[in-house]
Symmetry: C2
Subunit: 159 residues, 2 copies
């Protein structure tokens, strides 16, 4: 239904708008737009984190929280689950989505890989914001090897 | 569920972001941000218009198209129907939502009425964009008398 794609359409418009009015099209300006998007994602993630039905889940371990992101958060936002979750058991987690919805509409091809960060920044923030609401400070980065597969690396920041 | 509020959260962030970086906080700058939001709404409306299940409906009359906006479009975006639709039968339609979701979270009170246009511009564009996909050129304006009730006035542009 339309509400499934509403978020995707709005997200594309947001990306287009931020890049259209970019005062500095060089790496500095690009970085600023990415951090604006990441910040928006962070605040949306914080707000969503308060809404998701986490009462049903007892978060005994950090891994439970990450599983919650891969399942509940991903379903709420993208109507699908994350494809895999790996960890080194030392606070680093790699979440992989083999067909990340915000990249699916991009034509695949190596030449588009450098455009991918624009379409991932908001979601990095979303993960960081949701984790923050759940009491976990983190750094979230991303990598794309073959579109539309995406990896999100979450590194937990210990106090 | 969270996906219902995702659009609302993202919309708030978009409004906040556009006003945070407003180069000119006077009426001119305000007007530019409103038109940026309206333009984003227009393009999202165009895209949504192509997706909504309009095959089920035979649009024999203009009024059918307006009813489609009040029902199908509103449910897809806001999970509720518009509260009333009136027309002068000369191409002007007034669509009223007694509890417009994007204004519900604002505290009610006369002092907030002047903030309301920011939260209505995207939706004016959304209506105009959906109508455009359905082959109707229009002008959409809005008025708020008592928050969170909102009126959208659609004036059809005849060729």
């Amino acid at each position: 239904m339309a509400d499934t794609v509403l978020f995707e359409f709005l997200h594309s418009e947001m990306v287009a708008e931020l890049w259209a009015h970019e005062p500095d099209p060089g790496p500095g300006g690009q970085k600023m737009s990415l951090s604006v998007l990441e910040g928006m994602g962070f605040r949306v993630g914080q707000a969503l984190g308060e809404r998701l039905p986490r009462e049903t889940l007892a978060f005994r371990e950090e891994l439970d929280v990450l599983k919650f992101l891969c399942k509940d958060l991903w379903v709420a936002v993208f109507q699908k689950q994350m494809d895999s979750l790996r960890t080194n058991h030392q606070g680093t987690y790699v979440l992989q989505d083999n067909s990340f919805p915000l990249l699916v509409r991009m034509a695949s091809g190596l030449q588009y890989v450098e455009e991918a960060p624009k379409f991932l920044a908001f979601t990095c923030g979303l993960l960081r914001g949701t984790l923050s609401t759940l009491g976990i400070k983190s750094l979230v980065t991303t990598s794309v090897a073959a579109l539309p597969a995406s990896k999100f690396q979450v590194v937990i920041q210990r106090p």
